[in-house]
Amino acid sequence: MAALRKPKQPQPYDGMRILDLTHRYGVYAGKLFADLGAEVIRVEPPDGLPDRAALPNRDPRFAFLNANKKSIVLDFGDPRAEARIDALVSSAGAVFIERDGPLYDAIGRLRAANPRAVITAVSPYGMTGPLADAPASDLVLQAAGGIAWMSGRIEREPLALPFSQATMVGSIYAATVTAIALHHAEATGRGHLIDVSVQECIAHSLQNAIQVWDLEQRISIRGGEGTRDATEDIFPCRDGFVFLASPLAVGNSWKSLVAWMVEAGHPSGKIFSQERWSSREWRLTREAREEFRTAFTAFSTLFDKEEMARQAIARRIVMGPASRISEVIDDPQLAHRDFFTQVEMEDGALVRFPGAPFKLTPQVWATARAPALGEHNASVKELSS
């Protein structure tokens, strides 16, 4: 695991300056640009953008989402700051703003200061509509966008996704549409205004639930009863859990699974060889799910995750370990690809970070630690002019 230096090869966003005034749902977008060469500058009020106040110093969330950005401080309330804001905006290719943060209500001014720039405004519900100003949180947006409905067990409450997925989904849509708008703006000299609604981003991530409703008037629901094969679930093994998917339609996954049990002389092999397991419809029923769970668990608990993974690969069964976070860091495949990287913190300590989300050749991706408040005041000339 090596700390990545800034690549010698030209990076995709060399020469691109991006002002980043996001503080919650849009924060990851700037990181994506920064790690590919853009100069991404957090422009912060004297006490920092709201995420600094909300999160303790060296908070892992702040550290990851703001990696490789710069930070400058500007007193937005001071009338003398206006010329500096205009100078900064006019030096930028894109400006990310976010509801409840600075300049969100100054779009006209931003566009006037730089008509060539892409202005991307991120907000919980969008800039318009009856909920434009409604209070929000990550959990609430996962509910409002419909993804919370999709997870959990049917007898329990719906279950939201962990680790701020409203932020991640909102940010990745903000990043891609900004990159598209930049493609056009750089070619034509005409900027754009993008109004990203996080609720809409979540509602855009519901697999096929919208079409299932529109075309078949069925509501997709947590637990998967009636839509998911009995085998598609998480099951215990000797030292944890595995995820299995062996519906009849997926390659030879089912045949191979049953053959393995039969070969091992396990009684579950006989159960799954019965005729009714070749009925797709029956396999969607609650009865099938219960029978499968009991009989498969009797088999799966004989093996550990490592062995299950080995067998899955050798036998072409769609199955993988449900790893803990602290196990993923030892994943042999990730080690082979040298995926994780190290980032040097302010105090010199090295911290393991996820490596690039995509492996590029030539290698032009690099990350670095998040900035301290105002760390780059001296190096951004528009601030002193």
Partner: protein, 405 residues
């Protein structure tokens, strides 16, 4: 608006199923020419996966396929035939990007490996997105989106409590992290090509991409040495923070209370203002410590009210809240989505006037209008004639010899 922001960008798009086509769709929606090269023998699994118009199977009747392939062109070619492959190379020569999400080695077996493609098109942007990357000890592991959730820790961490993982109920990594990290990488490669004239190879491991989507958990683990908690809907920073049962069948409301003042306001709304002074609930730390009792009190209130009403009253008081919306609610009753014109209907010869989610943003104050997805092989002759200059006689000959299948 039908934006032409990416006009002039052309894809030879071999992606299929969920994640791949979702990432190339954003390009066709913004005016790129995305030529979907598919097979009528080995059909795209979402063409056969449904849901189907009128619940009747047909290769052009899947709503799932439709939602992932708006604005693309469909060319049907037999990649196993020499002539079919030659035509693909001819399309590649005129493309900026070639994209696939097959397993490792599949493109090589088709004769379309990176080196072979670069030999005919030196500045190609070559996107692959296999589950675990192109090589390594687990590269051959088979998986669906949920397998990616499993091996990344996302499944373990989506849990009702310690040791009780459930996992996301959808193939979540296919619908957000992976298609859009891939799209972002292609857009970056396009910019770099404009700067340097060079192409790029993008090897997106869907596992590595998804790990970035839960990257905060990995950095937390690295900084503390501890496994991040399996926290359910609860938060270590706020209480109440959860999804609460409401009046009616399977009706729920998400509520998050971020301060003592907000809690006092909520107590007043619940008709129990004295709860604000109750020492069990007087501070965030106290509320987190007494979460079970607190959630019981909240549930008593919410279960007597409609979910929409609970959410509305709390929002009016400045407290984040929302009904847990299902697909039907989003489509039929969500005033915010409707107010912003989020849903659009697009005519299609076999799907009729069916429903699509707009790209989740407005551009210059307008919606991006979608163009309908292609019928299987709809553009085969058009692309080969307009792009490659094949004449009618040649097209007929190819058709007769079975290359268009």
């Amino acid at each position: 608006m039908k934006p032409d922001f990416l006009k002039g960008v052309r894809f030879a798009d071999l992606t299929w199923a969920g994640a791949g086509p979702f990432s190339t769709k954003i390009f066709s929606d913004f005016g790129a020419e995305v030529i979907k090269i598919e097979s009528s023998v080995r059909l795209d699994s979402v063409r056969t996966g449904g849901p189907f118009k009128d619940r009747r199977f047909g290769v052009n009747r899947s709503g799932y396929f439709a939602s992932r392939n708006t604005g693309k062109k469909s060319v049907v070619l037999d990649l196993k035939s020499e002539e079919g492959r030659a035509l693909v190379f001819d399309i590649i020569r005129k493309s900026d990007v070639i994209s696939n999400n097959f397993g490792p080695g599949a493109m090589d077996r088709l004769g379309l490996g990176y080196d072979a493609v670069r030999a005919v098109k030196p500045d190609i942007i070559y996107l692959s997105m296999p589950m675990y990357g192109e090589d390594g000890p687990r590269a051959e592991m088979l998986g669906v989106g949920m397998t990616i959730s499993a091996v990344t820790g996302l499944m373990w961490s989506t849990a009702y409590g310690p040791g009780d993982p459930v996992g996301p109920g959808t193939h979540y990594p296919d619908h957000a992290a992976n298609p859009y990290h891939a799209a972002f990488a292609v857009l970056a490669a396009l910019r770099r090509k404009r700067l340097t004239g060079e192409g790029m190879k993008i090897d997106l491991s869907q596992v590595e991409s998804t790990i970035n989507f839960i990257g905060t958990a990995f950095v937390a683990q690295a900084m503390t040495g501890e496994e991040p908690p399996q926290a359910s809907n609860a938060s270590g920073e706020m209480a109440p923070h959860g999804i609460y049962r409401c009046k009616g069948e399977d009706a729920w409301c998400a509520i998050t209370v971020g301060s003592d003042a907000a809690w006092a306001e909520m107590a007043r709304l619940m008709g129990e203002p004295r709860l604000a002074d109750d020492t069990r609930f007087a501070s965030t730390a106290a509320r987190i410590g007494n979460r079970e009792a607190l959630d019981g009190i909240v549930t008593t209130w919410t279960s007597a009210c409609e979910a929409g009403e609970v959410a509305e009253r709390l929002r009016q008081a400045g407290i984040p809240a929302a009904r847990v919306a299902n697909s039907r609610h989003l489509v039929e009753n969500d005033v915010q989505l409707a107010g912003r014109g989020y849903w659009q209907r697009v005519e299609h010869p076999e799907l009729g006037n069916s429903l699509y989610a707009s790209p989740p943003y407005q551009v210059d104050g307008e919606r991006v209008e979608l163009s309908r997805p292609p019928l299987l092989g709809e553009h085969t002759r058009e692309v080969l004639s307009l792009l490659l200059g094949l004449d009618e006689a040649r097209l007929d000959a190819l058709e007769t010899s079975g290359v268009f299948k």
